[in-house]
Symmetry: C2
């Protein structure tokens, strides 16, 4: 994938031009075709900032093979990049390949203006990263495990009995816990007013919270509806609507680039949902 | 906790002195007392680099209350810091509070010399972060879920039947998958020779892999013994021994600061272990 050696790396920090920092190099997202999945967090970062990118598996002839080649047991990476275990994978220019959703977002954050300015607040990007990790833990990884509590490689139907139990706990304990946590974050002074999670401005943590709330609303419409009507999480749902109404996000959500939920992380099995 | 406002933040990037970058401020780890848990990754970063730190719940009168105050439903954080959902929490000086294990490590990495020099390889810290996230996913979070597959707030005994099923899948499918992945990373050129995960030098990803392999070896001694004897993961187990033999790590492991596994993430339930 990359032919240069480590010493040829062109990425540098400090005050340099976009060209020197590689910010003008093309971005490619390598992720499973046809589902939003974890790749959706990367798409939203690009879409919300109007950043051009190529969604390789959905928009090029490579299709799913682009993913399969990366995650093959035979792939040992290249001089610059360890192999990825799983997508999403970000390719930036010819030489940089990064995996792990929160890691790709941490890399993109400063380049896309989705974290606080480091010169003004050098710790802000770590707060944004922590908020992102927590949203992914409780509102993405756990909802996946609800329908796959025993084995991610087996069918839902093979673990449905256990899924019913885990769903009951998720709806009653875990989902309110995480929504309550983010309500608390939005109530705190570090949010800078309660409209955004951190520092009074949109960051990628807000995009991740939007996407994960959207996902759990699809998977558990009865339970999310009930929690929403309780009034306990008004700031979280207001943030959700605020992100959804951003011009670029709105256009994206109305485009055919926004993929429909199906058999990915967020699945709607009516038997796993209930008001309580 | 912090009395300064956002504009008073003293942390800056670039070429500054340790005092200016805050690297001389005291580090405090706020984590549950008496268990290694996720806090162990933070301890190891400090211990392996000889960095002074205060393990608040274990070494001060505050004890567990230091954790409880942070994760209270009433805590909305302060001007600089959102509230944490859960420990580990790093306090750096008076003003900085960070949560989420991989996030704390990402913050400490450059300060403790546990990531590649950014001036030489500005992408290296993201590779280290990705490797860390993957090790924590498969060799820490999943082993926890093996004994708590349905509800993290319920007792193991209440979900033992499901735990037996999940343990079988973890031993057969997931554990070999993750060990195989790291063997592949160590076989690739970006590892810089196969002794360390990335760039030919110790990074915090190596410390995390050491700790997670140590944990699964405690939890599943029969299965790890069998996998080790297969010879398929020799580079992973050699890295484990290499970290263990580092002078500062060795001294730490022999000290009373190294806590014993008990009822935390890594638990040894004989019924969940087997050679296959």
């Amino acid at each position: 994938m990359a032919s240069s050696t480590r010493s040829s790396k062109r990425q540098k920090t400090g005050a340099e031009t976009a060209s020197e920092t590689g910010d003008s190099l093309p971005y490619k997202l390598i992720y499973w075709p046809s589902i939003p999945g974890r790749g959706e967090h990367i798409r939203l970062a690009f879409e919300a900032t109007g950043t051009p990118y190529i969604d390789v598996a959905n928009k090029t002839d490579a299709g799913v093979n682009a993913v399969m080649a990366q995650i093959s047991d035979k792939n040992i990476g290249d001089d610059n990049n360890p192999p990825p275990l799983a997508p999403p994978i970000l390719q930036h220019g010819d030489d940089i390949l990064l995996s792990q959703t929160p890691n790709i977002l941490a890399y993109l954050g400063p380049k896309l203006g989705l974290v606080p300015d480091v010169a003004e607040d050098s710790v802000g990007l770590y707060h944004v990263n922590a908020l992102t990790l927590t949203a992914l833990d409780g509102l993405s990884n756990e909802p996946h495990d609800v329908h796959h509590p025993i084995a991610s490689s087996a069918y839902y139907e093979e673990q449905k009995e256990e899924a019913l139990k885990k769903a009951a706990d998720y709806r009653a304990v875990r989902l309110p816990k995480f929504l309550g946590y983010f309500e608390r974050v939005l109530s705190g002074p570090a949010s800078g007013g309660g409209e955004w999670l951190y520092g009074g401005k949109l960051t990628y943590a807000d995009l991740v919270l939007f996407q994960t709330v959207d996902g759990v609303s699809y998977a558990f419409p009865k339970r999310v509806g009930k929690l929403k009507s309780s009034g306990k999480y008004d700031k979280v749902f207001a943030l959700y609507e605020r992100v959804k109404a951003l011009d670029k996000v709105k256009s994206y959500l109305e485009s055919d680039r926004r993929l429909k939920y199906s058999m990915g992380i967020y699945r709607h099995y009516p038997e796993l949902d209930a008001e309580d």
